[in-house]
């Protein structure tokens, strides 16, 4: 009973003090708002880059051409051997006939040429299309497949894929570092703003201590106040994230540069998860800032 009363009083006091010290609360709230907007941008950016990377990785395919004299038995043997490498997400066989038909459908000129071919004169090769499970070891897998009998050529755009993998790893690391750095900077900024806000209430803290308030019971209302400030400060960034991202998504029609690979993340549930993340960051940073700021006035 006594505990519940105390907790209720903490919340009441914190809410009161946000309202009573409105101008200073507003300063802290805007500080949180501005930094959270920047954090929101970097979250959106880094997740989308990560998403591009993921879709490009998923799209990496190894094309395996068989020798021209490979029989159907050879093909099924090779299929088994490829599967035994373990790094197989999806494996599709495409006979030279299918390949020819597909190409013929691409345009009229091809069609006239290809229609001249018979099964014997078809110069194309039977092939497998392999989507790998783990793109990081694609080189290794490709080399293993090259060793298989009656495999003619193996190609996966080695250089491009290798480069992309490195670039995306770097981008991912940089964006994580940026988000972390931003959060740390925000925490410092907020600590200082709240310090200013609390400075105005130095006397109140001093009196609280003099009449017998324990350090913890002084700190808690301030920390709850920080929670409120963080919550209020994250309203605008959350709105910007939700409506801004939906707008952006609609404007670009879901993809950048009209490319199937540069797809934007679909807004639902991405924006809600990001908003939740923003609110949590705001609250934690507000609470941490208040905690740090009030500590200073609790010595001696």
């Amino acid at each position: 009973m006594r505990g519940i009363r105390t907790i209720r009083r903490y919340f009441r006091d914190a809410a009161k003090s946000v309202v009573r010290n409105f101008s200073l609360s507003l300063a802290s709230i805007s500080c949180i708002t501005i930094t959270l907007i920047v954090v929101a941008f970097s979250i959106v950016l880094s997740y989308n880059v990560e998403n591009f990377a993921e879709s490009i990785r998923k799209d990496v395919t190894i094309i395996i051409f068989l020798d021209s004299d490979a029989t159907t038995e050879d093909a099924s043997r090779i299929e088994k051997e490829i599967k035994s490498t373990g790094n197989v997400e999806k494996l599709t066989f495409k006979s030279k006939k299918q390949q020819a038909e597909e190409t013929a459908n691409e345009n009229e000129i091809f069609k006239t040429i290809i229609n001249e071919w018979t099964d014997e004169t078809n110069p194309l090769l039977d092939s497998f299309e392999l989507k790998v499970k783990d793109v990081e070891i694609i080189k290794n897998t490709a080399n293993k497949i090259k060793e298989i009998k009656k495999v003619n050529t193996v190609s996966y755009g080695e250089e491009l894929v290798d480069k992309l993998i490195t670039i995306f790893n770097v981008v991912k690391k940089i964006s994580i570092a940026a988000v972390v750095a931003l959060i740390v900077v925000t925490a410092f900024l907020i600590t200082n703003t709240i310090k200013l806000a609390i400075y105005a209430r130095k006397r109140e803290i001093e009196i609280m201590r003099l009449v017998g308030a324990s350090n913890l019971s002084i700190k808690i209302p301030f920390v709850i106040e920080g929670l409120f400030l963080g919550l209020l400060g994250s309203i605008v960034p959350v709105l910007i994230t939700i409506y801004g991202y939906i707008g952006l998504y609609d404007f670009f029609g879901g993809k950048l540069f009209n490319s199937a690979l540069a797809k934007l993340i679909t807004p639902n549930p991405f924006i809600y998860l990001s908003s939740l993340l923003l609110v949590i960051i705001g609250i934690l940073v507000g609470m941490f800032g208040s905690w740090q700021a009030v500590r200073k006035y609790l010595k001696i």
Binding site: R2, T6, I207, M208, R209, L210, G212
Partner: protein
Amino acid sequence: MELIRIENVQKTYKNGVVALYDFNLTIKKGEFVFVIGASGSGKSTLIKMLYREEKPEKGSIIIGGINVAKLKNRKVYILRRKIGVVFQDFKLLPKLTVFENVAFALELFGYDKQSIQRRVIEVLDLVGLKNKIRQYPDQLSGGEQQRVVIARAIANNPKLLICDEPTGNLDPDTSMEIMHVLENINRLGTTIIMATHDREIVNKLQKRVILIEQGRLKKDFEKGTYYNERY
């Protein structure tokens, strides 16, 4: 029964000024003690150490079983809940009403609303301010503000009331009124230690007087007066 025992206390400030030197004092329960001395004598330091605003570097200060000299910063509140402190500059919260200022201390201890209400009215009645509970501190006179501070200090029934020049900012008539309030409280059993400069008060009340000079206990009169000492 003794309430306060101060033994071999020494306090030097960071700038090298020795405020108290090998100081010893005992105060019994229920006493009313004046602490007098010129500015810079160490009187304020002594008072501040009693409510642990300052820490001695040597010696011990035992108040009601708590060694204040060794009390950790984090645990100061344990002491402060057992004592009441009255200041020269009042230290009231300007944004709270008289009632809220007194209730403030009680709320910290987690009393329920009815008990707080009852006790606040009771102590405000005792200091003669029952009719001003809805006012804010800046609507009150200096004497009235000091009464509020006294009410706040005794709200939690402390064994000891420490007063640091409570009449320093008040005119003689108002000072005497405050002293009557304090005498009343003392009569109800609370020990009072009061630092003061006010001759008239000390001479009139005829209580125990402790004279501090240059950081040492110079004189301890059972029923002393101020005027037979030279300043």
